[in-house]
Symmetry: D2
Subunit: 316 residues, 4 copies
């Protein structure tokens, strides 16, 4: 069995005493990927990295990573590659183009795509990987830049049980919670479903508090009532969009930090496209996507996604 | 002070040892009101009731209530009246028509409207009550028929602090949680805001699970992920709309019992009208209202409101 | 028959040779009402006017109108009163309060409400009018300030056939098209239904052209295609929201003039409330209302309603 | 110039005296394509056809077409190929797979894709075609099965001016109106924008008439008012969704014939995906898509798209 053969390649890290891959590749050193790659290094793995941004690469080589000249160059001497890229198209390009990961990886290599993409992209890549005996799992994350830095990301993994177990120790170096969501693509599916529900309940919370305020309610009182009643949700309880209800959330810090409007719009766009293909009816999810697009059109792409409260409330 | 004067009228119930009104009126003995009136009787209050439905009245007189011939007849000898009626118009009629409560109540009488109405209705009635020295609070409930029966309703009360304290002991005979939401109308406002958020997060949950299912996710796995992530809400965690995820919720019992589609549509209609008047922007709340209207148009008014999952999923 | 008796009161205007009411009252001399009242004067009618704004009244008395001190004062010596007021509440106040039109009008007086209101308001007033033998019709208008000035408004009239015929000659002094829509309230209903469809097709046009532009289409080519195909509507053909497609429409004049966002939002709010009461499902109409509310929240209440194109397109 | 060289290949048809391609290929003989291919034959062209459905092929060979064994077999001896396929994926497969049209076509062949697809699909195929000197235009149609039969389709063509002129005579054998919409992909873009606006105005019309009916309006009166006012659109005027307003439209024939709900849902899905990629805000277009998806979920996929009136109105 290929997963068993692969697991034979694990060695024990001197630094941590845990089993680990001897040599790891990483592609995509952006806001998230840069921190994730550093955490792999910290666990004592050897790391070879690639990014089109030279500065991002230098930041990693300075702390001990090796530099590759292409995705194909990353994959040629490693047992496992993690990719963290900004879009479907970037992922398809890195995996699929001439000299991409799929055509260059050796048999039994494990490819982990932590980008957030359409589940169909993951499934397409997995099928092609299978033809040449390469293992693929999707493992998108939640938790944002701070969790990437602290190594406390949640990984939602789609792939065979064997590949999940194979990937888990490495993912543990970057995250605190590693969840098996099902076959390939199901990591993406779980992330998109969760984030769509998050967007809907955040906008719903913003609307309820906007209406409450215009009707004359004290919004701290409303928060107490909602959070002990059937309206309770993560957004009302732990990430309230009204400034001053909770300390230390973006709404109380001018909607800075957190999970940006443009990132939420991207995830909702992926959910929307997946729903079109799957012929699933998602009226509120679709409208949530449109609302975040309108917020971007009005110039607030960089605010935290709880800014929707201010968008609805207005300034007049 | 009128609230102090009124409170002088409390006597100590022999049965319970608690302070109570010596004589209570109750108008509206429907599914909810019938149970609520019984619970008042059980606490040892004297009760006089009115309803247009003779059978509903007989049910109460059999267990010790007195019968009144009109709202005016209810209010003439009591210190407090509770009303539980199905619509804005019923409330306006009972309070406002010739021989209605407002024109017949004695000075310092406390009128508690537990109907769910537009906050403006409560505020209008309170202003008229004030002219003749009558006290008014709105006190809509949540919890449904079972909580009405068990005396475990939540009351969301709008009115002066004095009137809230005055109403509280009586409300305690019918409910387990009595919350002061602010001035008159704010009980209604809090209920409508909570229920609008509930509808939005329920539909959002139904959409996320509908999309997940069509993408191939195991829905129990999805529930685990969502409920430990940012998509978590009361609807996903305690009232999941997918049959078989939770025992003992309506979705696992053919969507029977629970909180009906038509009641949710009514509350969303009230929230919508309040938002039109208050000029509040509530796009998802509005769409939630329309979705429940469409479910009614398709013939499922009597199902529990979590039936929206089946509506979206379809039967083809 | 009361309509016959009333029609006996017509006299022939010296100025125009047409039958006319000898003496007309007018209440509400705002942007629309001021022009409408002048056009009545121009047709040789005697006119007595009332408004809370003293300047608005002076403008009319300078050109020959008499001044009344209250609605009751307007109605005491006339056979017909036209009202043109900004909201449900203003109409209810002018007609219903102590010394309002309904309690002061003589038998057989004709009251024409040209305000845009909820059809239920018209129906409520008509029922009260009937009790004292007073005639009521609703006659909301379309066409905007320019048509009010030029006397080319369209009147959508709800009332009995007799009252419609009675009102028609007077309405002809202010409008070019007088349409009988059915019983009382149906003028309002027709206006709200038309304007809701107008808002939906305007936003739909704005979306289609926004999408077309982002996909790379020449928007004049798109306009030609749409206007000779099944997407054709009044908004695409005669009031295109894209600057430069048509001359002499608001979009080509910085979205100034025309039919303001806040007026459209008001009509959509009335349609929404009427739909809540009538239990009609109107998902796009509801969302159109919310979109115009969001445009107001973003500070563009005074732009023409075709500004939605810019709102969706954004500025980034 | 390749377009000039290609045009050299035109010969004059004996039957019609018009210039025509000597030999034409056709792929996709479904409800639309079968009629379109017959109309090409009728104009005296030699035709070679391919479909996976053997019966569909026999129907054409019986009237004189030749049979090909694959897309590659179609293209090997012709100057022009028309394709009419049901989805993005079918088009990509026919053009792109091993032995697909693109790898098999000779230099200067003209490929006309009349399928409705994402504009990005057309643009991707055109780029690949260009590499081997093959010409590609997108030419989706409107008009439905009857227009396909009668040869009165509208073709919306995207491609260079030269290729448009080259394609035009052949398209004239199938359609009455051949419109040049811009570069490759713009035929698709124009069709999707038009159909999205059509869906929005159809649903808007259905909502306006649904509201009107519930408010008590005579719907023939409402149709007269709307069609002479600003609510006028193709759907209200020529394809009214209310039974009995117009003769000879699907709503007056039990919503049979016409443009099916599932086809409209497909086009709206394409518009939605294109908007996600183009980052265009289309709230009503998105909701229209969801409404048609809900109609499918409720079991009415095969009704004409004006059936939305019945969906909203309901049956209770």
């Amino acid at each position: 069995m290929s997963s068993f053969t692969s697991s034979m390649k694990f060695i024990v890290c001197v630094a941590t005493g845990k089993r680990c891959f001897s040599r790891v590749g990483f592609i995509g050193l952006g806001n998230m990927g840069g921190h994730m790659a550093r955490n792999i290094l910290k666990q004592g793995h050897k790391l070879i990295v690639f990014d089109v941004d030279e500065l991002a690469v230098s930041n990693l080589t300075e702390v001990g990573a090796d530099r590759a000249s292409s995705p194909a160059d990353v994959v040629k001497d490693v047992e496992v590659v993690v990719s963290m890229l900004p879009s479907n198209q970037h992922v398809l390009d890195v995996y699929n183009i001439k000299n991409g990961l799929l055509s260059s990886a050796k048999r039994d290599t494990l490819l982990i795509d932590s980008s957030t993409t359409d589940p169909f992209v993951s499934q397409t890549l997995a099928k092609e990987a299978e033809k040449s005996g390469v293992n693929f799992v999707d493992g998108p994350v939640s938790g944002g830049v701070n969790a990437a830095k602290d190594g406390t990301l949640t990984f939602m993994v789609g792939g065979s049980k064997g590949n999940f177990e194979l990937a888990k120790p490495l993912l543990k170096s970057m995250g605190s919670r590693i969840v098996h969501c099902g076959d390939v693509g199901m990591g993406q599916a779980a992330k998109l479903c969760n984030n769509m529900l998050l967007a809907v309940s955040m906008i719903g919370t913003a609307e309820a508090f906007n209406l409450g305020q215009k009707l004359g309610l004290d919004l701290k009182v409303l928060a107490d009532i909602v959070n002990s009643s059937s309206g309770r949700c993560w957004s009302s309880e732990l990430y309230n969009p009204v400034p001053g209800i909770l300390d230390n959330v973006p709404s109380s810090k001018n909607y800075e930090g957190g999970f940006g409007v443009s990132l939420m719009a991207k995830d909702l766009g992926l959910a929307q496209s997946a729903a079109v293909n799957a012929e699933a009816t998602i009226p509120l999810g679709s409208l949530a996507h449109q609302i975040y697009r309108a917020i971007i059109a009005q110039g607030s792409a960089k605010k935290d996604f709880s800014f929707v409260y201010q968008f609805l409330k207005g300034t007049r």
